[in-house]
């Protein structure tokens, strides 16, 4: 399914093919990744992600969930396959075209990946670096609109008054709030999240998922995330993708996920009560 055209004023320039321009759906075709020749981590993944809602990828450690997410914005180089987004094959992009595609895709990380010695405000503005020239970034000449947007997002994520704090003075939950706000600063057409709650306590994890679900729904941004916590995945996602051994072994709404699927995904059954 395809969402209606980008409604959030996001830049959609660069989408080559007519018809698919402005949509936010993602289409992965035969994606393979080998870190070492002959031992693929991803074995020909084919996956279509609709342009709205949260798609959660679950699966055991080391099965390539993270690799899959990172192939989409090319933090990891795919070995083979196509990744179509807004009429462009992301797997084939290089240089400026790749940077322009990347700035339309936000990312949230397990370890937050904030710049520790910079203030919260500067971390948020880092989300705009794809649009700001290096000289302006150096001189800290950010557009007033970006600064206004950053303050607005800080209020929304519950960090009002934290703009001047250094990132390393924040707690884990607060850091992830900054991480999410930074990604949303990009006004992305797609948000990727690599284990966004794995470093957080259970209560904070739920709060962070609520925030991410709320913020992306409000801005009509589709989310692809991988997550260890099956309960959280079922609670927030509209669709669950179960991976095992580099293959997709389950794909469907959370309601359809049964114990036998979990056995197939994670192996064994002793851990299921």
């Amino acid at each position: 399914m395809t969402a209606s055209g980008a409604t959030n004023g996001a830049a959609t320039n660069g989408s080559g093919q007519a018809g698919s321009a402005g949509t936010r759906s993602l289409s992965i075709r035969g994606l393979t990744k080998e870190y070492r020749r002959g031992t693929p981590v991803l074995k020909g993944i084919t996956l279509d992600v609709a342009g709205q809602g949260i798609t959660a990828i679950i699966g055991p450690s080391g099965t390539g969930k993270s690799t899959l997410i990172r192939c989409i914005n090319r933090l990891v180089e795919p070995t083979e396959g196509e990744i179509w987004f807004q009429g462009i094959d992301l797997a084939r992009l290089r240089g400026k075209a790749l940077r322009e595609a990347r700035r339309r895709i936000g990312m949230v990380f397990q370890e937050y990946n904030l710049v520790e010695r910079l203030s919260v405000m500067e971390n948020l503005l880092c989300g705009r670096l794809g649009y700001v020239s290096p000289v302006r970034a150096w001189l800290r000449r950010f557009a007033q609109a970006d600064i206004d947007r950053a303050f607005e997002l800080l209020d929304i994520v519950g960090l009002k008054g934290f703009a001047g704090q250094r990132a390393d003075a924040l707690s884990g939950g607060q850091r992830q709030r900054v991480g999410i706000a930074r990604a949303v600063m990009q006004r992305p057409d797609l948000l990727l999240a690599d284990e966004p709650t794995s470093s957080l306590d259970p209560k904070t994890s739920v709060e962070i998922m609520e925030l991410m679900a709320d913020l992306t729904a409000r801005n009509d941004i589709p989310v692809v995330l991988n997550i260890h916590n099956v309960e959280l995945a079922k609670r927030f996602a509209v669709r669950i993708v179960g991976m095992a051994g580099g293959h997709v072994v389950f794909d469907g709404p959370p309601g359809d996920l049964r114990d036998e699927h979990l056995k197939q995904i994670y192996g064994g059954e002793g851990w299921l009560e």
Partner: protein, 265 residues
């Protein structure tokens, strides 16, 4: 399988043999060096007398020599050290970046940068000074360039290593946001290595104060010229003044550097 038959030894017989060989070679090397150095016993025996004699000739110090020649030379030394350090920072920054494998992931460029850094370090300041005196003639310019070129290797190596230790996370995040390379460097790498960079710069300035003090011995300007003059003329009371001045300045630089470091880090 009885429990008390389990044996444990810190080293295998092979390792023990290797260790023994190492000690043997070390002792042998020491014996050979003593023979090669060819110590003349007579010179060794009267060394204490010579020292006493030297100090006697140094005292009382010729304080009038300070305003006459030392002060101006001292200021020139400070200029050589500071300008040389600043120049080396400007030159070492790009080379250090090119040497860091994570920042510039091209092995050939890393190797070239490391070659530059090693060549800079493998040549002593005095040799650099001799070289620049030959090119630009004697004076402070040769001294400044000698200090700068010797420091590139030091600053560049340590700065490059600091860059390689930078965390990958922020770099990934900014890359994922579509930031161009200069912005990634500026906002992800630089904030992480900034304290290290200034710390290295101060440390090198401290070293350069000491090194520039002797550059005058080969005609590259500074307080070493005054020292050289006094030494050649055997005016030991003036030599003492110069040495004391150098000592005072080095201590002062040390205090300044320690104070600034504790403030910025």
């Amino acid at each position: 399988m009885i429990a008390d038959q389990r044996r444990w030894e810190r080293f295998t017989p092979q390792e023990r043999l290797l260790r023994f060989t190492f000690y043997l070679v070390a002792v042998a090397a020491f014996m050979v060096s003593v023979q090669t150095v060819d110590v003349i016993p007579e010179f060794l025996y009267d060394a204490p007398e010579q020292v006493v004699d030297l100090f006697a000739r140094m005292w009382p110090m010729d304080w009038k020599y300070y305003p006459k020649s030392v002060h101006e030379a001292l200021i020139e030394t400070l200029h050589i050290a500071s300008l040389g350090t600043i120049l080396s920072l400007a030159l070492a920054l790009p080379v250090g970046i090119l040497a860091a494998r994570n920042v510039v992931p091209v092995a050939a460029i890393n190797q070239l940068a490391k070659l530059i850094l090693v060549s800079s370090r493998s040549v002593n300041s005095l040799v650099w000074a001799l070289l620049f005196v030959a090119i630009f003639g004697p004076g402070a310019l040769a001294g400044t360039l000698a200090i700068a070129f010797r420091s590139i290797g030091f600053v560049g190596k340590l700065f490059g290593e600091a860059l390689e230790e930078a965390q990958r996370g922020p770099v990934e995040a900014l890359t994922a946001a579509g930031a161009p390379w200069p912005s990634v460097f500026l906002k992800a790498y630089w904030p992480q290595v900034q304290p290290a960079f200034w710390s290295i710069a101060l440390f090198r300035w401290d070293i350069n104060i000491r090194e520039s003090a002797v550059l005058g011995l080969v005609g590259a300007g500074g307080i070493g010229v005054a020292l050289d003059t006094a030494l050649t003329l055997l005016y030991w009371d003036q030599v003492a003044v110069v040495l004391l001045t150098i000592f005072a300045v080095v201590i002062l630089a040390e205090i300044i550097v320690t104070t600034i470091r504790s403030r910025i880090i």
